[in-house]
Amino acid sequence: MVDIQSASQMTSWLVAGQTLFLTIHLLGVLCFAYIVAKRLVPLIRGQRDFRFDQPLIRLGRVLKFWLGQWKQPRYRLAGTLHIFIFAGFLLLAVRAFSVLIVGVSQNFVMPGLAGRAGPAYNIITDYAATIVFLCMVIAIIRRLIFKPARYAVPARYGKAHTADAIFLLSLIAILMMADSLFAAAKAAAQSQPGQSVETLAAFSLPWMLQRALVSASLPTLGTLYFGAYLVHELTFYFLLCYRPFGIQFHVETSLFNIYFAKLDREILKPVRYGVSDEHLDQVKSFGVKTFEDFTWKHMLDFYSCADCGRCSDNCPANAVGRPLSPRFITIKARDYSFQHYPVIGRAHNGTPLVGSKDSGSIYSADEIWSCTTCGACEEECPLLVEYIDKIVDLRRGMVDDGNVPQSLQKPLKALESRGNPYGKMEKKKADWANAKEFQQTCPVKTLGKSNGANTLYFVDSITSYDDRMQSIGRATAKILNHVGENFGILGAAERDSGHEVRRFGEETLFMTLRDHNVEAIRTSGVRRIVTADPHAFNALKHDYKDVPPVEHISQVIAREVKAGKIKFSPVENENSVYAYHDPCYLGRHNQIYDDPRDVLDAIPGLKRVEMKRCRDRSFCCGGGGLMLFYEPKEDQRMGVKRVQMAAEAGANVMVTACPFCMVNIEDAIKVAGLEGKMTAIDLTELVDQQIAREGPDLKFGLKKEEQAAESKECVVTSSNAQ
């Protein structure tokens, strides 16, 4: 041990350890570099992914989501703790480096901290270390005693992660303690008679330790000083090299993961980045079949997951007991990567990812088909991990291998031959509009060579063919008519938008449907498109190219209400309490949250409540398009959970703005036994029902000319109003 004569040269206490410290530094850094290099191997073998554009926008997102911890407060307690820990780590980073360097160069002072800034920085970091230490204690207590449900690991996914989490939290606590003791020992020595006193932040961890050490002898303090340094050094490097083996790797990868995160989330990943649609036929294998089929960024996602469980906590499939938990999509892939690309030894790969467990596959087919692509997981993830693209890519791989459930094969085949999943005749597509009774009150023209229009109403399959949903089509047509829109439909020329076809991995079939529709839309010569189906809306807006601008009917209605073209009669039933259910592809995927609510709030006397889960935390009704044909393994329907949420909120009318939501919610009302207590209505149906149309309704202040103009427009008989 060092012979301590005086405390005048505190750092001399470390001199004897210089060689040891230097060795640890070098070993630690080398070891870390080696592990990281090994971790990069699969990324290099992964698929291309263009994430190097728009550096300024990406930096902005780093500021928001990384430095600003934007998503964290969505979970109040855990988020706050994380913000403190994150801020503490950032503040302590400089201190950690100077401390490390002091071990080999005793008089080192970090540039910029030589003058007055030094003591100020020291005080800040004293507090930072204390706060991080306390956060660790709270986090350990949470993990051990309160055990939030979302951290639990269901048996089918392996053992609990608690031990690993506590081990890591403890290591950080030890690091903070060692760091504080190091500062305290030094300060305690200095506070002995005749020394210049270095101030420690009052009530901080170093401050308390220093007070405990005041009466200790110089040699004891020297030993403590040296010991604390050694523990700090060893813990630091152990953590550094251990992190790439588990969830703490996000400390290193998060910055990159957020910088490279997808900017245009609403646009689905192409089959291959850099391969145009025309050249897709030359791509031999579609989608993700083995681990190396993931893009490098998707692999980085796997490394970056912090296992916080927020994705699965919000996943509707997970909530109803389907065999899908987004958290484990990531965790299982990361474990696969660690196992098949070991730090020591050769990489071995090529196992199919989807298949039976016995053959080494990590995902089951049901797991991958269970996702409704609602986007709740992605909305929540603080690290911007992407899920939908991966699910779709895995499905593309399964479709390519012919591995598609029988229940989906029929509708897919029908989409191929008839352009709709029901196998209905094309010529019957416009039947909903051509019914005599309806035609007389509200003519809808089918666009053709001699029959042009300004606006296309894109109806899509379900609204065209499903008896119940045709009412949404008729309501939409009547609203468009009411506001004087010159519109038409494509009729037999309209094919399914292909929205779910694409999301179910049948890219080539989607392209055929899309190309047909694009051609038909262009031929029709329309200048804008309106649809009442959020899935068609999303497809037209993001999956199609070179088509006129598209709007959802709720946007049109909201605008016309503001412009005064639509006036409402007051609601008749005073006992009705309305709750608006956000369709995933209107809300989360297109951020249309306010328009439908504004419309509802414009109806006089309408009482509206919000469900606990609303807006970007809306809970999927069960999925649309092909998902209606899929037979999931589940304990409960998503829709049933959703209508129960509405009942809890005190609503007895659920308003939605999507035909698929209507299917699921109406079914769920029956399954949940809420018939008679709860009803569902589409926004268009409600608007159509409430529009003040005829007569001089003076309370809305219409002038005579306006009344005249209105009476020319479509007059509605109640037979068509829902």
Binding site: L280, D281, F286, V399, D400, D401, G402, N403, V404, Q406, L408, Q409, K410, L412, K413, A414, E416, S417, R418, G423, K424, M425, K427, D467, E506, E507, T508, L509, M511, T512
Partner: protein
């Protein structure tokens, strides 16, 4: 194992509204969409699975016209090694025995260990499999719902007996089997797969290629002739409900309860 699957293209019953034509001797075919006969698709899947287990090739053959190439390509996209179109003007109007005679000619041109057909065509009468076996003097098993290859010379096949029991038989190769739907889960054939086989050549064989006597096939050779085609009149006891979905469900419940089906 060299396997031949005899397949047929039929109007897809789930995607068409079948109506009688004006003459009343056939259905209206103008707006129909066609696909491979469902049971034949199961037969091809079974053949592919056998080949995966024991090796060999799968050939799919159909008797028909140019339009029928569509199903051959679909099955090739599924994994069949060869597609063969058997087509000749003189084949038109063949009855079941005529088709079996044509297929016999094709079988004898090659070396097939196993010949599979679907249990029956959706617009047919389950004739061809049995007749083909008889014409070839091969053993035949019908309604097969599982196949196990015992060695190079024998198969163990099972069929379901009315009431749900299973019967297992051993059968010598070469043989003809008619395949029941449900024997497997046919794989999906995507658009991409179909596109990739779009330009592969499909050989066509006519009567002379196969050495088939034109007098035995086609209209000339047909001894079974269709004389009428009609929708049977509504029988007694059959009631068709015409209400809305809810009304129908209520009505069905009422009827079943009234007949003592529900208590």
């Amino acid at each position: 194992m060299e396997i031949l699957v005899c397949a047929r293209r039929v109007p897809d019953t789930s995607e068409n509204e079948i109506q009688l034509n004006g003459a009343g001797n056939d259905i209206e075919r103008d707006e129909l969409v066609y696909s491979i006969n469902e049971a034949d698709n199961y037969a091809v899947e079974e053949a592919l699975q056998i080949v995966t287990r024991v090796g060999g090739t799968v050939t799919v053959a159909t008797v028909g016209g140019e339009d029928d190439e569509e199903i051959l390509r679909r099955e090739m996209a599924m994994g069949a090694n060869h597609g063969v179109l058997i087509s000749d003007e003189v084949f038109g109007g063949s009855d079941g025995r005529g088709i079996a005679t044509i297929l016999k000619g094709f079988v004898q041109k090659g070396h097939y260990d196993l010949i599979l057909t679907g249990i029956q065509a959706e617009d047919g009468g389950a004739q061809v499999g049995g007749m083909l076996a008889a014409l070839l003097d091969y053993p035949f098993a019908s309604l097969v719902n599982s196949i196990e290859v015992l060695d190079g010379k024998k198969l163990k096949v099972s069929r379901e007996i009315e009431g749900g029991n299973k019967e297992i038989n051993e059968i010598d190769l070469p043989c003809v089997l008619s395949i029941q739907t449900g024997i497997n889960e046919p794989r999906y054939v995507g658009m991409k797969g179909i596109r990739q086989v779009a330009s592969l050549p499909i050989p066509t064989y006519g009567a002379s290629d196969l050495g088939v006597d034109p007098g035995l096939v086609g209209e000339a050779g047909a001894k079974v002739k269709r004389v009428d085609y009609f929708v049977p009149p509504q029988g007694k006891g059959a009631e068709i409900l015409h209400g809305s979905r809810e009304e129908n469900v209520d009505k069905v419940l009422e009827l079943v309860t009234a007949k003592g089906g529900l208590k």
